[in-house]
């Protein structure tokens, strides 16, 4: 191996796995343009775990689907770039994107009772995922399916393979969905609130196992949730999303200990903990604004206790104490 290729390789190793710049995903509806994602920047290293946190409707899922190229009309990516491993996903042809989906980038959905096809057996749904990307025999694909089930802690995998989704519990179905996501050893998994529909105890187990698996295999993970507490113990970094924009990004511990954006602070104060036991939990006042008519300037302005005249102009992301913040009056 000569020096130039080695240099090129290290460059490839250093470049982030995923880099999203100025992503705008809009829906053209009769009522107007819904700017579900409106200028999102995300950078993710290899094997890194990112928590994407925000209220319902803030555009988390749409961000995830944009990465996979699964935005259907009337939605479209209006602007921005998504670079995965040096390749631009937005301008890429559909067949190339298909080859990445489920192979390089996998996704886990929120509701396990809806993600598996009700009329197909588990083995069918797993084997097809392997064969969509690799020219292997059904026997070999089945073996991989079995291994994947073992990996996510499903007992008696051979029997499970022969069942239909309705024969499995919610937690078991989500494990199957995770196994499907893992089956082709992707480099990136996007998990869209995969534990929201499950019991708290199962939730904890699954989060723990997914983290362990990602660390073991070096898989990067974007964990989408509306619950900051869920990602606090899971993510390396957290990105807080509000009304289609990332308002604050930083290392998990920094961001939780010292939130800079008033919205992040509001989120943290609304999480129950030991220190708040017995006291009334703080709540962010007001409601999420309609994406159809966002307030001028900072979208959080009308709910913000620290809003000033400056907030009538939308703040740009600024680097502050190792974090990116979109706020005129960050807490310091």
């Amino acid at each position: 191996m000569d020096v130039t290729t080695m240099k090129a390789m290290t460059a490839a190793e250093c470049q982030p796995l995923l880099s999203i710049k100025g992503l705008k995903t809009h829906f053209e509806t009769r009522a107007g343009i819904v700017k579900a994602v409106d200028g999102v920047d995300i950078e993710l290293g290899r094997g890194e775990i990112l928590g994407l946190v925000g209220e319902s409707g803030s555009g988390k899922s749409i961000t995830g689907f944009s990465i996979l190229g699964l935005i259907d009309p009337p939605g479209r990516i209006a602007d921005g770039s998504i670079t995965y491993d040096g390749r631009d996903l937005v301008s890429m042809g559909e067949e190339d994107r298909r080859q990445l989906r489920g192979n390089d980038i996998a996704m886990i959905f929120q509701d396990p009772s809806m993600t598996l096809n009700p009329v197909l057996r588990i083995d069918t749904q797993m084997i097809e995922t392997v064969q969509a990307h690799a020219n292997v025999s059904t026997a070999e694909a089945r073996q991989r399916a079995r291994d994947a089930l073992v990996q996510v802690g499903i007992p008696s995998p051979d029997e499970r393979l022969k069942t239909y989704p309705y024969e499995l519990s919610g937690g078991m179905r989500q494990r199957v969905a995770i196994a499907i996501a893992l089956i082709n050893s992707p480099k990136l998994i996007i998990a869209d609130e995969p534990t929201t529909a499950l019991d708290v105890s199962i939730q904890g187990q699954i989060i723990h196992e997914v983290k362990k698996l990602c660390r073991k295999t070096g898989t990067a993970l974007i964990w989408i949730t509306h619950d900051l507490a869920v990602v606090a113990g899971l993510a390396d970094r957290i990105a807080v999303m509000y009304a289609g924009r990332i308002v604050e990004t930083g290392k998990t511990a920094d961001l939780i200990e010292r939130p800079l954006h008033p919205y992040t602070k509001g989120l943290i104060d609304s999480v129950p903990s030991h220190s708040t036991r017995g006291r009334r939990l703080h709540q962010i006042k007001g409601i999420t604004p309609s994406l159809l008519n966002l307030p001028q300037g900072c979208a959080f302005r009308e709910r913000c206790e620290k809003a000033t005249k400056e907030c009538l102009v939308a703040p740009k992301p600024t680097l502050l104490a190792g974090r990116l913040v979109r706020c005129w009056n960050p807490a310091l």
Binding site: R98, Q99, R101, G102, A106, F109, V119, T129, A132, Y166
Partner: protein, 324 residues
Amino acid sequence: MPVFIINRLLQAIGVILVMSVLVFVGLYLIGDPTSMLVSPEATEIERQALRKALGLDQSIWIQYLTFLGNAAHGDFGRSFLTGQPALQLIVERMPATVELVVVAMTFALVVGVPLGILAGLRPKAPSSKAIMTGSILGFSLPNFWIGLMLIMLFAVYLGVLPASARGETVNIGGVALSIFTLDGWQHLALPALTLGMAKAALIIRVTRAATREVLPMDYIKFARAKGLRPSRILKVHLLKNILIPIVTVAGLEFGQAIAFAVVTESVFSWPGMGKLLIDSIITLDRPVVVAYLIMMVFFLVILNLVIDILYIAIDPSAGEKVRD
């Protein structure tokens, strides 16, 4: 499972009993069949003798009970008109009808399902709108009118296809079938097309509606997120789910067509069961009408059972619900 089959059969017997009473009373009220059977000049004594011979001199309840007793032994009486056993008359006509309906339904499915999926996949495309307009025409135009137009075009104007009767048949295992001869196909073409177009129109609508319902489902999006090829998503993930309503509707339509293909068979003088039924009603040939309707109820119940079993084969979770 067996319990649900037994339940269905018991249900069928109940329906058959109720129906036989209704048909019996109905035909009794409509009129006296002897007036159709004897010449207008016949004397009252001759009429009385005929009534006695046919058992029509008894009260309606005695007649009904006699009928039930005989029917329990598989004897549905003889045609007033020809004297042949009613059951035999019906069974002889059955292959013609079944053949016509099977060909028509196959046509309806082969044409209707792909067009329905196409219209469901891209509901706003001009091609989809054309398909839907066609399907509205297909089931709002009366069947006999479509039949007559086809006759006009192919038989009268172009002169390429015959307009009536069954054509050459081949005897297979005692059953006369026309699908094995060219002449048979030529005769089958127009009636099958007439019946098939109306059914295809319905299948298109059902398929489109089901497609539109299944497409936004999470499991379709998940299938895409797995990187499956679009053809696989269509042929496996979509098709298997929309098959459930399609099988249900196609099954019911099939039964409907077998039992009451009256209009098409009349237009094309197709010697099937529908033609027999309408002829027997006109001549008040009570044994044939009663036997026919009873057989059809029985057939429809069995057909429903088959549909349910198919349904469970497609969607095993439905079987769970039926068993509960």
